[in-house]
């Protein structure tokens, strides 16, 4: 087992990173380590865990602002918000089952991986709700970006740079999120159709309507089910579901799923359960323009897929081989989209490009940014790409 450092406060995190930088000894950075199997294996003998840096530091419901140490488990934040009828806007998935983890994810890890759920299409990604961060660079020097207000364009937005950088550009110690009221009610309009293309046509029609659809997915099956979620006051759910039902009636057999069942359904979509990935299978997330989603599934021809985000997010499960991975890469590229090898055996993840290549000029800028933020190359080396 590799050694794990467990600093309990921010100065201790800084000291650990500074020492690692001085010694030139890389660190694997993690919250509770629930997503170790995401992207490439990190080339580091020691792990720096943020799990002890935990707790909500500020919550102002009327100001729609919540701050927490990076190691705070998501359920703790969700529980505090639920008491005041609020929620984490981006609906981050709970991937404990998918990754075989035994603990809940931390907020720092969710921001660093920029993971968002079904509500992404209307309410924005995880990174869109990061109003501020405290973080440190690869020398252990602390900096802040953003703040604790909802609208802020002061200086370069390093929050965005860190969100989705998978711990390779900085170690996030505290995050400040914009939160929003949770809708009091939900409902889902479901349309049974012949195939995925027809399903995405239903989703496009729903998303192109004035009814504020906040989730648009396709449940797989011989006759796929296109599902459109509404989150509103109860009076509005009844009205809007009725209007959607009328609008979509010609596209397939329409039904309405009520509140409790609808909530359960979207939790399953959020956590990619309908994908039904077997433990030994690899999982990919491909992001394309919505109408291209069915084509990606067809090009690959595996049985297992789940479409979310109106068809634009394609979850795929299949054989954990380099050949399958190459086919996913090719399908994503042909559809003009992006991909992530989301889960797979370590050997596969170490051997292939888990993210798309960037154009050469952009890759060069990326290397310069990495050199600026982490000059000694100690933060999560190898996590995103073989070099850096």
């Amino acid at each position: 087992m590799s050694e794990t450092l467990l600093p309990a406060d921010e100065p201790a995190v800084a000291a650990a990173i500074a020492a690692a930088a001085a010694a030139g000894e890389p660190l694997a950075i993690e919250g509770r380590g629930t997503k170790r199997a995401l992207l490439r294996p990190v080339q580091a003998a020691r792990t720096l865990s943020l799990r002890k840096l935990s707790g909500i530091t500020l919550y102002r419901p009327q100001e729609l602002i919540l701050s927490a140490w990076a190691g705070t488990p998501l359920p703790e934040i969700e529980a505090a918000l639920a008491e005041r009828g609020q929620q984490v806007v981006a609906e981050p998935p709970d991937l404990t089952a998918l990754f075989g983890a035994t603990e809940a994810a931390t907020i720092g890890g969710l921001v660093a991986t920029n993971l968002s759920g079904p509500r992404r299409i209307t309410a924005g990604a995880m990174r869109d709700h990061v109003m501020g961060i405290r973080a440190m660079n690869g020398l252990g020097e602390v900096f802040r970006s953003g703040g604790r207000v909802l609208k802020n364009v002061t200086g370069l937005d390093l929050c965005k740079l860190l969100a989705g950088s998978h711990g390779t550009l900085g170690v996030i110690t505290e995050v400040t999120l914009k939160v929003l009221p949770a809708a009091p009610a939900t409902g889902t309009v479901a349309v049974r159709v012949a195939d995925l293309t027809a399903a995405v046509r239903v989703l496009s029609a729903g998303l192109g309507s004035p009814y504020g659809v906040s989730g648009a997915a396709v449940l797989p099956g011989e006759h796929p089910l296109a599902v459109l979620r509404l989150e509103e006051f109860p009076e509005s759910i009844a009205y809007r579901a009725g209007r959607l039902r009328d609008a979509l009636a010609g596209m397939g057999e329409v039904s309405v799923i009520e509140d409790a069942e609808s909530r359960a359904l979207w939790r399953r979509v959020r956590d990619a359960e309908p994908l039904e990935a077997a433990p030994e299978e690899a999982i990919w997330r491909v992001s394309v323009q919505p109408t291209a989603g069915p084509g990606v599934v067809a090009a690959l021809g595996f049985g297992k897929s789940l479409l979310d985000w109106g068809g634009g997010l394609v979850w795929l499960a299949g054989p954990a081989t380099a050949e399958t991975h190459a086919a996913v890469m090719a399908a994503a590229a042909a559809a003009g989209g992006s991909f992530t090898l989301f889960r797979g055996p370590e050997a596969l993840r170490a051997a292939v490009a888990v993210l798309p290549e960037e154009p050469a000029a952009l890759a060069a800028i990326g290397r310069r940014v990495k050199a600026v933020m982490d000059p000694r190359g100690v933060l999560n080396p190898g996590r995103m790409r073989a070099a850096g």
Partner: protein, 481 residues
């Protein structure tokens, strides 16, 4: 007064040669060098500052932009990108030795795709131009800065502009999918695309709001949305700023997030009423304009609830629009706020801080005290839902002391915004205007970290230099600091 770096003598001396070099790259009338024709480009929305550039170049294609940038890079010439020049922070202010790279001729809507709810547009398309183009089909582009008739999408991306409806729909950053851009070296590439959340570093997020510091944007893929069935506003006026602030808290606590929630203080109410005759209550200390969306029945339901909430705070006036016309009448005064203030005072500075919303009464009280001590009038307009405060400071530009005091007053307000937990700018950007205040909000190390990211894109500091980051402490401007 804010200092600008000394022009590079070597560049100034080669002006004719540089103009000829640019003319070879952008033929026809795409290069402007005569003094009279440079005049329109010497300032932007921060009109107290003026500086004619070395030349203006108006390319029509991404390839021309790349050729111009490569040329400027090779010749050590500074470049100031420009959209419509409506920046209120001097973001598009030229430098004497800089080429202004104007994107206004790249004004084509390249594609609209309703099934995927996106539009691909050139950087010089106006904000309203996008909405106008798709409105007949029931769609719109959500961010709606008050300058939307003039300002361009490339400028919006670089300022991460907001609008009255961003409480519900988000700011520019939340409505983008992809960018085509050109680096200072003249390299062309795209970030993001026609899909959400490209894997890898979030370049799209970093570039949004980067104020022309990192690259020149030539094309933008924006998300478009279907318009709501309808919208309607109400007006509620109260006897103090504190009480209006409590009403805002109660609205948010009720779980209703209106599409817009605008606050005006007494001087703003008076200025707007005198100008627009919108029927605003002149005995009020503070007024809210609240807008909701949905079907008529949904609007009635939401407005009914909001009315009940406001009634708990003893409003002195409460008007719920019954029709679209009444709704427009309520908005009329607020939408004309800049013109209204412009009528009272020959000149004004529009400030743009953000504060935690709970600090509003305290901040307005302090601004009132400062106004008295500087002897300058101020009217406050506030996006109450998100804490973005716009004090309009009135002064006389013909009186140097008045201008100096107005700038100092503005700096004091922004410093106060930071002290109460807020920031220097919510949507107008740092530009030159707030550049020297950056140390109020950031540590020297934080500024250096951002400067280093800028330098990763633009190692020679040729792109829109002397903006955003204080010159002092910046090795790239040693001679000027």
């Amino acid at each position: 007064m804010i200092s600008l770096p000394e022009p590079k003598p070597a560049v100034m001396a080669r002006r004719a040669e540089i103009v000829a070099g640019l003319q070879a790259l952008v033929p026809g009338d795409g290069v402007i060098s005569e003094a009279v024709r440079l005049k329109p480009y010497e300032t932007d929305g921060l009109s107290a500052y003026r500086q004619p550039p070395l030349a203006v170049v108006l390319p029509t294609t991404t390839e021309q932009v790349a050729a111009v940038l490569a040329y400027c890079h090779a010749n050590g010439v500074r470049v100031v990108p420009r959209g419509a020049g409506t920046s209120l922070s001097g973001g598009a202010l030229p430098l004497a030795d800089a080429v202004v790279l104007g994107l206004m001729r790249m004004n084509h809507i390249l594609e609209v795709d309703y099934a995927n709810r996106l539009a691909v547009v050139e950087a010089g398309v106006t904000n309203l131009g996008i909405t106008n183009h798709v409105a007949a089909d029931g769609f719109f582009y959500a961010p709606d800065p008050s300058s939307q008739l003039a300002c361009m999408i490339g400028g919006n991306v670089n300022m991460n502009s907001g609008g009255a409806h961003c409480l519900k729909y988000g700011v520019t950053a939340n409505n983008l999918l992809g960018l085509k851009l050109v680096t200072i070296e003249g390299e062309i590439f795209e970030v993001g695309g026609r899909y959400l959340d490209a894997a890898g570093y979030d370049w799209l997020g970093l570039l949004t709001g980067s104020e022309g510091q990192l690259a020149v944007i030539t094309e933008v893929t924006v998300r478009i949305l279907h318009s709501p069935e309808g919208q309607r506003a109400m007006l509620a006026a109260f006897t103090s700023n504190e009480i209006a602030g409590e009403a805002v808290d109660a609205i948010i606590a009720s779980g209703i997030i209106p599409v817009a929630l605008e606050f005006m203080d007494r001087p703003a109410i008076h200025a707007c009423e005198a100008f627009a005759h919108a029927g605003y209550p002149l005995d009020a200390e503070a007024m809210l304009i609240i807008e909701v969306e949905g079907s008529t029945a949904e609007q009635d339901m939401l407005l009914g609830r909001l009315k009940e909430i406001c009634e708990r705070f003893a409003p002195i006036s409460l008007k719920v629009a019954e029709t679209a016309e009444q709704s427009l009448a309520i908005w009329k005064g607020r939408k004309g706020a800049f013109g209204a203030v412009g009528r009272i005072s020959p000149d004004y500075l529009c400030m743009d801080g953000t504060i935690p919303t709970g600090q509003l009464p305290f901040v307005l009280k302090r601004i009132g005290e400062m106004s008295a001590s500087y002897g300058l009038q101020v009217a406050n307009i506030f996006h109450a839902g998100d804490g973005n405060l716009h004090p309009l400071i009135m002064f006389d530009a013909n009186d140097p002391k008045s201008f100096h005091d107005a700038e100092q007053f503005g700096a004091d307000i922004l410093t106060l915004c930071v002290e109460v937990g807020g920031c220097l700018t919510g949507e107008h950007g740092v530009g030159v205007e707030k550049r020297d205040l950056m140390p109020v909000q950031f540590t020297p190390f934080e500024l250096d970290q951002m400067r280093a990211v800028k330098a990763a894109f633009d190692p020679d500091w040729l792109l829109n230099p002397a903006k955003v980051f204080p010159l002092e402490g910046n090795a790239a401007f040693q001679t000027a600091a």
